[in-house]
Symmetry: C2
Subunit: 366 residues, 2 copies
């Protein structure tokens, strides 16, 4: 019997409702008497944590996250916290967790659920069967580099600085993640940067090229400028298998790709740390790609699929339970095939259901 | 009789062929005996300048650009110059011109030519009638901030740094350009940044908000996160009128938007300096959005429309010749309506023509 320790951080807005559906699935697995059980604990993060503690995440919560096998994260933020001090904005909780757990590898699958191909803005033939994995560097670059400040100059003008910073080490480890993943997929990696204007892009391209030569010459490698990548994701997204890129480009390109699939409310993500050399254990956080959607929060209208699929990724990458992960993926595909839709993906002729009905339907398929 | 001094910089690849078509149109205007004539001079830039002078742009060329009423720019770069020293890469010529002429306002219309709506990856109804103006800050941000360097550390690792830097002054002047443009269009501006992770984004949002209050409260202003903007450009591009954003986000978002229109090979851009307080004169450079396309260069296959439309923008913004600019726009729409297409925009049932045939057809419509 293996016990997996999960920390559940629902956060704000619809994160609370979608996490409730994950909890039902966890309870189901625990009750079904398999070889794996889950021990869960919940905590506050984001605006909810700020309201309770004046901090977007507490030290205790970070410690619990480090001690758990996987963190399942909902979403943070909302207009309620528009004016809190910058250091305590809801996003700061997420950013601190990423940094303190050293979750450098953000995996963002951009897949098109066949039942939803028509929901894409792109023509059906361009997205049908689309399956991209975006590997975004998550603990470096302009998100965390110092100096990062606003200073008031003598003449009263302000001057804001952010620092884009990458080292050989950071680029090499994320490149390896991308090559490893590509080997299990289409064996092709596109590395996106702007070496024509950024020195970090020059180093990025150089280190990815060297890592490829020494570590993964069996994988097909393409270098692509980030602006061109943004174009190609619209023009012909199926040309991509794995895309590896930095923190900021990864933020923009993965959102663009997610929207192109037509399956935005459905997409999970995994943020992984390095594997411990002895135990193979790695810290990890799983979260939906969508945000906290304050406008529909608390109305049983949110789509729980992305959060449930994130839990599925946790089973696969943190719990060694890929069979059960496959089950979850199949259950999701199944309810879609049955015509069930939450409001965000509603289409003519389908059956609109709420958050909890969708959760129940997925549970039933398990 | 007004004489306009133009500097023509064809650059590399298809820039040379597409500029030749612009020259024919200039000759036509000069021969037609109107109140405006053009005095043109040409020079090398990019790889061509490097081959001749060992520099991507010479001081003399920069001086000529400063002295001209408008620079018409083709495109630079190609595999031939993949290994030239970084400071002399073809793009460096373009970047120096932007910086030395202080061309801080990059206007990138993303319009969908009705005849080409079907060429878009997006569904027809999402792009038909699309008309966005992206206003990209062009002389600040991570493109030019210092430090910008790669250093080798004691342990042999390298560390690359780029600096994203914005001042109140830089943000205010680009915001004003956006508000001024919006007033002549749909009266709506979206300002895109990442204030949730970047201090430059915090300052950007703050200064745009203040400029709006004091200068343009008649214009509808929306703040949008850059990653969400990348999504919305796919989901529902027609929600946008003017988008104002920084140098790096502008690079990525404008390329994405251009591709979404289905009219990529057709799109011009203008890069404008500040207007002189006394004379009203401003320095300006006009260039197609597409690149140098080395694979089809020299084969009479390039689409000259984007470069011709860039010349049209020069007439409008630098020569006070908006009537003639309208004529050019109409001529372009006319040849498309006639079914003429270069290879890049070829569709079933249309007539494929080469670069010079397309140029001739446009000339005939004038
Ligand atoms: C919430 C925000 C800080 C975050 C980011 O920019 O990384 C989000 O956009 C994401 O992509 O996970
Ligand atoms: C050629 C390159 C330096 C340039 C840029 O990044 O600005 C190009 O992509 C553009 O958008 O004009």
């Amino acid at each position: 019997m293996t016990t997996h320790k999960l920390l559940l951080l629902p956060g704000d807005g619809i994160g609370i409702e979608t996490m409730a559906e994950v909890e039902r699935i966890i309870a189901f697995f625990n009750a079904s008497g398999g070889a794996n059980t889950f021990e869960t604990e919940s905590d506050l993060v984001g605006g909810a944590a700020y309201d309770a503690h004046g901090l977007a995440v507490t030290d205790e919560c970070v410690a619990k996250a480090k001690a758990s096998d996987a963190v399942i994260f909902g979403a943070v933020g909302g207009p309620k916290w528009a004016d809190v001090p910058y250091a305590h904005r809801p996003e700061a909780g997420l950013l601190r967790l990423r940094k303190d757990l050293d979750l450098f590898a953000n995996l963002r699958p951009a897949i098109c659920y066949p039942a939803l191909a028509d929901a894409s803005s792109l023509k059906r033939e361009l997205v049908e069967g689309l399956d991209i994995m975006i590997v975004r560097e998550l603990t470096g670059g302009v998100y965390f580099g110092e100096p990062k400040e606003i200073v008031t100059m003598e003449d009263g003008q302000k001057r804001a600085v952010d620092t884009q910073l990458y080292t050989t080490y950071e680029i090499e480890r994320i490149a390896k993640v991308a090559f490893d993943l590509a080997r299990k997929r289409g064996n092709k990696v596109h590395s996106a940067e702007k070496h024509n204007v950024m020195k970090s892009g020059v180093l990025w391209k150089e280190v990815v090229t060297e890592t490829h030569a020494s570590y993964a010459s069996d994988v097909e490698l393409h270098h692509i400028l980030a602006d061109n990548c943004a174009m190609q994701l619209v023009r012909q997204p199926k040309q991509f298998d794995v895309i590896v890129t930095d923190n900021l480009f990864g933020d923009v390109l993965s959102d663009e790709a997610a929207m192109a699939t037509g399956s935005l409310g459905m997409l999970p993500s995994a943020s992984l740390g390095a594997a411990d050399e002895k135990t193979g254990r790695r810290m990890a956080l799983y979260e939906p790609v969508h945000g906290s959607a304050p406008d529909i929060a608390g109305k049983n209208r949110a789509n729980p699929i992305a959060t449930i699929a994130s839990f599925g990724m946790a089973l696969r990458y943190s719990c060694g339970m890929s069979e059960q992960a496959d089950l979850i993926d199949k259950a999701i595909a199944g309810v879609l095939a049955d015509g069930l839709r939450t409001g965000d993906i509603m289409q003519p002729g389908m059956t609109e259901v709420g958050t909890s009905e969708m959760g129940s339907a997925i549970l039933k398929k398990l």
